[in-house]
Subunit: 339 residues, 2 copies
């Protein structure tokens, strides 16, 4: 074994926990030979799921916890109070160096707050952004920050740009990723105070390929690889993406089922249409990493099924193999010493 | 004639000016008997278009201007310098009470800046929001502010909520419109500083039906009638709507043309699909009004064709007939004296 990459998986988080969570993570074992898994969760349901699969017992371990953090609990209070929950136990393993990464489809707030409070930031990183990959007509773009820290400062957006650029280059294999900032127009003088302050700082960065402003309209067309914005805006971009596409697809489906004629038409187009729509299914890329932590924390969708969990775990393996945190640290520290 | 409503139309603004602009405005004459039109623009092209149609000469007038404001000119400078442009001439007619409303598909920046600088705000209105109607699966919602003034204050968002509520009630006929503020979660403690400051103020308003936060994901499903947000966020919501839907429809079309099988399927579903997609065509509602001015300024899409121009002009007639500005003034002033 070249290196042993240890990923903790929150077996209790998400709409389909623990069944789909355990299934997906176990499936990752076959794909990644250097992977070992730790599941955190309640003994009874976790053991019941684990009994369903065959695997090398040396590569899978369970850490039993007695509490579960609910989706609607106030995040910071939950992290502080429920020390024996699957989320806190998993994050603490990363904190103490007993694991390299933590994956959860549970409460976003708790995972984000816990990642920052328990795992902690890499030296020099001001704020860790939540950075999901979003599907576009050209492939995929990284959107950050997408909800971790609202009301960011310009210097923080610059760090997001750097971390996102490293991610797209080394995890997604895109050379010289195009970095753009979300704006309400492409002209220089457009923008709010934060964007106007950030643009000149991004222009000065020698270590990223900054291409300027991107209007929200061009995001779905993949006009940039790394899309930088403040978390409130990023959350709106992501949720509009999900909302508009799900609403339109529902309307199209309703139309296809509206008469015999359209039903026959639907049968003819269905295989091709399914293939097209699959390209816009975000689950194939796994969850969203919280970048800039002392370790890796990945937040999978609450609705995650086995495939997204599997891809999230594989993402953790790639992240470790690529020594992403060393790369991020080096670039962030280089920037802070050159100032 | 019960009342004469005078609408100035910028014949030079938009991708299809002056042809589609003149055609659409003239078409509104048949729909609205109380309407008279003034076109502003260069003599030669404007006259050439006007010669194509038959109309009551007493209801249509041309005001010839010698300059045109381009789409990429810095807005404020253009408004100050090009006094003899179709936009400045039109706005000045509203300012001097020679017209009730102005419609333009030209430079958004110039129309917004000119509306505020030349026409001026109603007494008590802090900032005039740009308020487009956006199509949803339930009908239509009003989104404001959608790009007129970035970095708004909480008191301004409260005024947007009031003006939007009046608009939806009296122009769109929705009783007790549901007013919501764009947020990144539905829980009380979520939001950025601006949203957290605004929510308690909206709760105190007795004259609107405030329903709380709306996540961007729920906007396309029509979960609120009036959607309040800061202009940068509103611009992102609107542009994501346009971008995601246009991208997805392009991908679906490509798929439908990809094989003989899908082409036959496409023929069968096309009539029904067209009808569905028409519901999501924003042009049927006309342009976006800039609310809270001493008069009415409507910004139509740059890509407007005759139908959108016609609906924009009709919107101006309804706005005047409903005495919208008196209603807005009364409510805004009532709020400021009760404080």
């Amino acid at each position: 074994m070249e290196q042993n990459i240890r990923v903790v998986v929150d077996a209790m988080g998400g709409d389909h926990a623990p069944g789909e969570i355990v299934k997906g993570a176990i499936a990752a074992l076959d794909a990644e030979k250097d992977l070992t898994l730790v599941f955190t969760g309640l003994k009874k349901p976790l053991d019941a799921e684990l009994r369903k699969y065959k695997f090398d017992a040396g590569r899978v371990r369970a850490v039993y916890t007695k509490e579960v953090i609910g989706m609607s609990e106030p995040p910071v209070a939950a992290i502080r109070k429920k020390k024996d929950s699957s989320i806190v136990a998993g994050l603490n393993m990363v904190k103490h160096g007993e694991a390299d990464a933590f994956v959860s489809a549970g409460s976003t707030g708790a995972v984000l707050a816990g990642g920052q409070l328990l795992v902690g930031r890499l030296k020099g990183v001001e704020r860790p952004p939540l950075a999901p990959l979003i599907p576009t007509s050209k492939g995929v773009s990284l959107l950050l920050d997408c909800g971790a820290n609202v009301d960011a400062r310009a210097s923080q957006l610059v760090q997001f740009a750097k971390m996102g650029s490293i991610y797209m280059e080394h995890i997604m294999g895109i050379k010289k990723p195009r970095v753009a900032i979300v704006n309400i127009g492409s002209e220089e003088e457009k923008g709010n105070a934060l964007v106007k302050e950030t643009i000149p700082l991004l222009k000065e960065c020698r270590d990223i390929h900054f291409t300027g402003s991107i209007e929200a309209r061009d995001i779905p067309y993949g006009e940039a690889d790394v899309i930088v914005c403040e978390a409130f805006v990023g959350n709106v971009v992501l949720k509009m993406f999900e909302g508009v596409s799900s609403m339109l697809l529902k309307e199209v489906k309703k139309t296809l089922m509206s008469s015999l004629r359209t039903k026959i038409g639907a049968l003819l187009i269905q295989p091709a249409l399914k293939k097209t729509l699959k390209n816009f299914d975000a689950t194939q890329y796994g969850g969203a990493p919280l970048l800039g932590l002392n370790g890796l924390v990945v937040k999978a969708h609450g609705s995650s099924k086995a495939l997204e969990v599997k891809h999230s775990v594989i993402q953790c393996v790639n992240f470790s193999k690529q020594k992403m945190n060393e790369k991020i640290s080096r670039q962030i520290l280089a920037a802070s010493t050159s100032e």
